[in-house]
Amino acid sequence: MQLGCGAHVLGKPGLHSYDGRRGQHAPHLSVSLVYLRAVLHYLVECEIRMYRMAADLVPYATHPAYPQLHHQLDECCNELAELGQWVMQQHIRLSFHAPASVALATIIPAGVEQARLRLNVLTGVLDRMALGPEAVVVVHVGGLAGGADAAIERWLRAWESLPVATQARLALEHDEHGASLAVVLRIHAATGVPIVFDHLHWLLHNPEGYNLAQALEAALATWPPNVRPKAHFATPRTELRAVLKPEGATRRRRWLLAPPRPGHHSDFVHPWEFARFVEVAGHCREFDVLVEAKASDVAVVRLRDDLARYVPEVAQWLYERARQ
């Protein structure tokens, strides 16, 4: 089991996940790829070999106002191939998580077209890097307007309109509200799209009452036998958070303390919660875990340290699994 982290790494100052300039300044994938290379080198130093790339890695690639930026994938074929080769040599597992605006079950036709374009770009990156089938683009259902049956029907129609290459890269995640694990399992049954189990979403939204073993095993079984599944792990935030809120007659904004929102991810991972997860995971087929904590790479490093200190048998189990 590899532990991975999200796009925004925090452990080393100066690392960026993509070229974040505004469109009028012509940001470019080639710049993003140099950023990405620096991030990946840092992660390898930290022994983190699973990484979710920024969804904006190819900046403005589908934005209608910047058609001059729509050919970045073709312009960077060589760089993508070269980086992909290095990634494979280093045994790094890469993936994308499509932005929230990508909603294949949307009731807005233009939304489907926009989602299709975005997914094609993300798929194009993975394909041009020649990464294996474990490099996926994770999507959500995107709303259950009209009920689950109608949403599934819309999702299936949208999925059928995708190029085969894009279909092959998709993985589907269940939501913290809306599409539950049972809903995405129905989509899997119709399409074969593998399911990403999300620990926090399962805690928050489990109307079918699956226990952890049932839920995890059901999701892992949706992956082809030759492709290592992935799952997401996070624990909910419990601390106060600072929010800027307008106050009084002047509506002047002030920092106030507020309780955490349900579903907020914690900064770090609770090691004993993770150990309980591993107790169940240990009986399942081998899979990788993307840690969805706010502190990203720092949280992964801290989790490994905490496990070694407090739950050494789990740390040892992880170490051995990572070596396999």
Binding site: P13, G14, L15, H16, D19, G20, R21, R22, H25, A26, P27, H28, S30, V31, L33, V34, Y35, R37, A38, H41, E75, N78, E79, E82
Partner: protein
């Protein structure tokens, strides 16, 4: 610091007229991959000019938007010198937008030898001198502000030799 001001900028050294022509006229800069800093990626490139530049020397006066990065051999970049000893070596070619003048030149008071300085656009636009460009930890930033306010001539990120401990 938010938005574009937080984006990475890289200060690179220019020590000859020929490289300056490539920056100014052809809009590209090259860095040998072998000697590239770990944080070579940047959205903006600025240029520290050395003594060859006379009255403009020992300061950063210009910067440019990065258009794209590509990799090429020296032979491909400079076909007029195909037999150069390093002709086969790989370089980052950084394609640039037009050169822009900084709001104020950023001098190096100690005329120090610099290789690359990874910084941010915000620091580049605000810096009074080269030492303001270094990315510090929060503690170092506080310390640096104290030094500056007290008029102490400190130098940041200066490597010094040290004897091994007895």
């Amino acid at each position: 610091m938010t938005g574009e001001r937080a984006l990475p900028a890289l200060v690179a050294v220019v020590n000859n007229e020929s490289d300056w022509q490539h920056i100014w006229v052809d809009h590209w800069y090259r860095i040998p991959i072998k000697y590239a800093p770990a944080q070579v990626a940047a959205s903006f490139l600025a240029f520290y000019q050395t003594k060859k530049f006379g009255t403009e020397a020992w300061a950063i006066r210009y910067y440019a938007q990065v258009r794209r990065y590509r990799q090429a051999s020296r032979r491909e970049i400079l076909p007029e010198a195909p037999d150069h000893p390093r002709a086969a070596e790989s370089y980052y070619v950084i394609e640039l937008g037009p050169l822009l003048a900084l709001p104020r030149p950023i001098p190096s008071h100690k005329l120090r030898r610099i290789s690359f300085i990874p910084t941010t656009l915000g620091r580049l636009l605000d810096a009074q001198e080269v030492n303001d460009l270094w990315l510090h930890t929060a503690t170092e930033d506080v310390l640096w502000a104290w030094f500056r306010d007290a008029g102490l001539k400190a130098e940041g990120q200066l490597e010094i030799g040290a004897s091994p401990l007895p």
